[in-house]
Amino acid sequence: MVTSRAYLENGRLGQGLADVRTEVGRLMAGFIANGAAPVEPAALLSADVLIDLYGEDLRARAFTTHDPVKGELMLRPDFTVPVVQIHMANGVSAARYAYAGSVWRRQEVGSNRPTEYLQAGFEVFGGTDPAADDAEVFAVLATALGDLPVMPVTGDLGLIFAAIDALDTNERRKGALRRHVWRPHRFKRLLERYSTKATVSADREGLLQAVKDGSVQALIKASGPALGVRSVDEIAARAEILLHEKEAASLSEADVALVSGVLELKSTMGQAAQELRKVAPMLNAAADQLEARAQALSDAGVDVSALPFEASYGRTTLEYYDGFVFGFHAPDRPDLPQIAQGGRYDALTRVLGDGEAVPAVGGIIRPEAVLALKGGAA
């Protein structure tokens, strides 16, 4: 129907539209009352930055179009990236922003998820007390949701990064694991590979022997003409890495258990730090952060003893969250997506700010989903 919009039958005309506007206005007013400045990023964004950030997978999830002068453009798939860009250009260290508008996502064939829906968001940049900022963003969104029948869940991607840091292995392996935190399948494969002695093909044996003999460049040149941008030196350098890799000690059982223990940790926000200290006593700093966040949440009036915590939560979203993550879902409405979600993304600001990082945490509410939920059962 032409008058329907995400999750709402009649949201584009008359009372239905008025309800949507009122809800968006209410959310924006709440964020602004918490010190946020309104911001309105462009709907049509340069695809380069987004693809560079998210990779080729984004093309399957966002709509792209082409301008003869500006090149490939993308319909805003989320607000975080353009808001970070605006903040970086703004030239201030600390700021809070509120925004509302449409985002567009390609959906898989057969999916009934909307390709266009509204988001209203609140972002806090440059705060000096991460635990307090995490708690505030969570509390502001929770307050905005009021007494809607939603269930919160929290997580912390910082734990898995801390576990990787604590592994007794070389920096290269740690880097590879960090790179695949958001791709659980490949992460698991890497972990398996690092914890077993791999058998090596005859060809690979020959290559490694050539590295030892100092004849690897000759071997590469003999295999065919040097083709393309990747040079013989780069191939030789990786062959050397492969030799180091073969000779590197396997990850210990204890290290593998540490990673899986952290990933499987499920508790409450109130108990999470204590649980983490049990499965991973060496991750003291991460546990301290968890504790500080739980305290800050409690100070903000959140009942942390009833707030679920799952260490793996947020691992399969678009890759930018790297610390505290949270979401609110509607258990009685499995047809609706998460009503609200958010998290910390300090690393993203470093990438977009050319190495200059700003602490950043924020979240979004889906106003149409809120209205659908207020409307009762599907």
Binding site: E56, R59, S223, G224, P225, R238, A239
Partner: protein, 236 residues
């Protein structure tokens, strides 16, 4: 009279082999008109209309139901029609037009013999050159889906509608994902197939549209089936 529309490749080797395939099963397809005209008929089936199309257009025509049956490559159906299973049914593989969609890298990449290696090289390449390793292909959906399934990151697809094997030499890509039947062209261009880089095995296939209006032509299909089954009991 209602007619069943059968889409066949409009020219070339694929058309010849398709006509042979039907002939072996007692169904004679004749080209009509002058040699350059895209027209033909199925002898003895006045209620079948031949629609001659490029093999690349047949998937779309099946998906929207403008033709009832069509012969084309599985690679084209899978690439061009996301969620094709809902709209199109594979009736039978025809045993020719074999082509594999594969991922290939330069033969000189002695350090790459698996997707695992490829992923590691992609990371190192991006760190060194400041851009993502480029894979030239015209099969964007299939390649992206394959690489996502394998958790490969730090690559980008660049479009190549022809002479894909030459892109590495021309410095417009680092790897290629393309259709190959024998692999000879790859070897001639100093490329090697990754052993676990087989994205899709494809061959010419007779497809049925689930979307087309079958209400008055289903009998024609049955009649056609009898012929095809006589010769090819395992095919259906």
């Amino acid at each position: 009279m209602s007619v069943l529309k059968l889409g066949l490749p409009s020219k070339g080797r694929l058309q010849e082999l398709t006509i042979d395939w039907f002939a072996q099963r007692g169904i004679k397809i004749e080209r009509t008109g002058s040699g350059r005209e895209y027209a033909g008929r199925v002898v003895g089936f006045d209620d079948i209309e031949l629609v001659l199309l490029s093999a690349g257009e047949i998937p779309k025509e099946l998906a929207v139901g403008r033709i009832h049956l069509g012969v084309t490559g599985q690679d084209l159906v899978h690439e061009k029609i996301p969620g094709w299973q809902d709209k199109i049914t594979e009736l039978t593989e025809m045993g020719f037009g074999h082509a594999d969609l594969i991922l290939a890298v330069p033969s000189s990449w002695l350090d790459v013999e698996s997707i695992d290696d490829f992923d590691a090289v992609a990371a190192a390449f991006r760190a060194k050159h400041g851009f993502r390793l480029r894979i030239a292909t015209k099969y964007h959906n299939l390649v992206r889906e394959f690489l996502r399934g394998h958790g490969v990151a730090d690559y980008q697809l660049v479009d190549s509608q022809g002479a894909t094997e030459g892109t590495v030499k021309n410095l417009t890509a680092e790897a290629v994902a393309d259709i190959t039947s024998s692999g000879d062209t790859l070897v001639a261009n100093h490329l090697k197939i990754l052993p676990d880089g087989l994205i899709l095995k494809s061959q010419a296939t007779l497809f049925k549209s689930n979307v087309a209006d079958w209400s008055e032509v289903v009998g024609i299909l049955d009649k056609l089936f009898v012929n095809l089954q006589d010769e090819n009991p395992k095919g259906f």
